[in-house]
Symmetry: C2
Subunit: 238 residues, 2 copies
């Protein structure tokens, strides 16, 4: 399930594409491996709409059909109101900006993403799901671990009555290894348009934890971040 090998194996795949570094790398990994690739992007109330724009740009540049699916449930689950019917759940879209937004983190969120992706894959006759989760970076998120994905693969295969393979090619990779994989599969140009900054800034702030983690991975791999290069060329980077 977790092999980062880039050999072509055929088949039809759906990539969960958030517009970030990891899922963009997975998209290009999938393009090398499968005969046909589509992407699904979830509009679930993420902090910054710029992520959605990045995903759409990246899919278009790759020539991949992108499905955009709304999920209004996380904001209802994740807000301070626990969605008691006595309290109107907040379901509207939030404005962009740096102000503190309601927490939309929901435990098991990747299970939901993969299950909706599997339903879409069923409709589109795609047999492989590809997701950019990594055990190394997200050890605090139990829904990103390999045993969880293996159990979910089983539930999806039984529940849809169709063999669904879940691939997490970054599962065992460090951030530096992910950069090396991106280079191997030709994803570096696309990473110039991927979004990482926690503050939603374009160009990225370079100072938040997400920006620093990304910068460290590129530094350790000895590769210049194409996003940094693009910003410099556009004379907009700090």
């Amino acid at each position: 399930m977790m092999s980062p090998a880039t050999d072509h194996s055929g088949g039809r795949a759906l990539v969960v594409l958030s517009g970030g570094q990891d899922s963009t790398t997975c998209l290009y990994w999938a393009l090398r491996r499968f005969d046909h690739v589509e992407a699904v992007t979830f509009d679930y109330g993420q902090r910054h709409r710029v992520e959605l724009a990045a995903a759409t740009r990246i899919a278009a540049d790759a020539g991949v059909r992108q499905h955009l699916l709304p999920i209004n449930t996380f904001s209802a689950l994740g807000g301070n109101a626990l969605t008691d019917v006595a309290m109107a759940p907040e379901t509207g879209l939030r404005a962009d900006g740096d102000s503190e937004l309601p927490n939309t983190f929901v435990p098991g969120r990747n299970l939901i993403f993969l299950t909706f992706a599997a339903a879409l894959a069923w409709q589109r006759q795609l047999d492989h799901l590809v997701v950019g989760v990594a055990q190394t970076d997200y050890s605090g998120y139990p829904d990103c671990r390999a045993p969880t994905l293996a159990a979910l693969q089983q539930a999806l295969t039984l529940g849809l009555d169709r063999a669904i393979a879940v691939h997490a090619p970054l599962m065992q990779l460090s951030k530096a290894d992910t950069v090396r994989l991106a280079a191997d599969v030709g994803a570096l140009p696309a990473l110039a348009h991927s979004h990482t900054c926690y503050h939603g800034a374009v160009p990225p702030c370079g100072e938040c934890a997400a920006c620093q983690l990304r910068a460290r991975g590129f530094a350790e791999a000895g590769v210049e971040d194409p996003l940094v290069a693009r910003c410099r060329e556009e004379a907009a980077c700090r």
Copy 2:
């Protein structure tokens, strides 16, 4: 996982309550079995809003806290548009009425319901999920089968890092057995307010497949349907 036994076992449970006959029976089954019971109802674009009203009435009558969670993803997935970004997905609520509505059936829908329920259970510190699916009635729906729920239980337990038990007390029961179970657990008065009719009619049409299936179950169990009795008393039944 599938025991219909009604012995009290303690614990805290969340019932997936649609407002129909089966989930209402499960609510009362859970009230017998667990120390604390809450309910979750999904507003996912079902054909008839009267189902939501039935669920709210039934939860209130049972003295159970009801969580109402919106899911706008099914209508995007299930419509004729396959949510390509080039096509605006229909995500608005549909009007009531008998006109043909867009198909919101999505394969694996019960996997989604249970996964969102598990996320809510995690937040509410509930350890048991109860769902009214039945292998006997829904043999065409692979996400309603016992092996699927067993695999999902494993995925949820791993993905949330918390033991989650999935209970499907109706799994092996015929419709007549479900009526007998409803009588055993004291659910019959509540069934007077449950919704079944495929046409969303109140009083029920009595002629659609859903009404006829329900009627056959009560007839075979030798029990009068409390919904029929209520309609007669209210002099509104055909």
